[in-house]
Symmetry: C2
Subunit: 142 residues, 2 copies
Amino acid sequence: MKVLNKETDYAVRALISLGMKADGWVSAKAISEEQAIPYQFLRRILQELIRNGLVESKEGAGGGVRLGKIPAEIGVAEVIEIFQGKVQLSECMFRKQLCSNRANCVLRHEIMRIEKMVNNEFSQITIGKLIDDLKAVEAMKG
Amino acid sequence: MKVLNKETDYAVRALISLGMKADGWVSAKAISEEQAIPYQFLRRILQELIRNGLVESKEGAGGGVRLGKIPAEIGVAEVIEIFQGKVQLSECMFRKQLCSNRANCVLRHEIMRIEKMVNNEFSQITIGKLIDDLKAVEAMKG
DNA sequence: ATTACTGATACCAATTTAGTATCAGTTCAT
DNA sequence: ATGAACTGATACTAAATTGGTATCAGTAAT
Ligand code: FES
Ligand code: FES
């Protein structure tokens, strides 16, 4: 059961990469090479991030992309939602069958409780946090 | 982002259905009709559950299936693992790139922490619990 | 024997995933 | 003003996965 697909994975890595760099525009090519992400695939992913405001871009020579928000305000949940849609465990399990009163089905509540918990957990992990972690790792390596 | 696929979904529903019935063998056909699950698909799913000990079977006329464990001891996590494999967020995000010391990468720890949390949450939801919930729902309908 | 079951396994169409390719437009440097 | 270095938009593709179907063989109750 793979939770994150390649798009989300690459997107997070690209965002971290951008966040770790000093200001200025970074080209898709540069990120692609640094992170070993297929160029065209990454371009499509970046465009999607741009459309959603997580990244800003500048066209033309010397252009490129940069974060559109501060790293601490980009949660992985947001990235997941862009590429994989809202976290959803399953449709309701017993539909018409057993629960005619969908509105207050306990089972449904249970499922939604977990959905929220997962979502919340993914929101807590921000790009900023991941960057801090990585920097800690690097510091240890010295 | 759909977390549970149809196999897991149907499997859980079949298990609940079995758990709510008094003892005795129940045919795949009966479950298929009761839960509106495609017969052949359900059969394959049941066979897999049997191989994994969650369900027992008896061949021949008058045969069928029944739970192989008590409902309270079947966690949804177990079912997920059978049909979708262990919960895994993503491969490690920065592989050779940034974290040469995989062993104690903080990022990796973070990811594994969430994996465990999700897994734990799914373990807490047992078939027994779901059945109790459903019974509560039915009682309310009275 | 016949009927009602499971065991095992092969097959299939539709969708999703991961990746590629192309062309048009923008900006910078010379 | 031209070429190189970029992004924007979008179409295309191969491979894997998903959800579902079909078949044949074997077992047990009547
Ligand atoms: S499981 Fe869907 S309403 Fe109860
Ligand atoms: S992200 Fe994989 S070792 Fe750090």
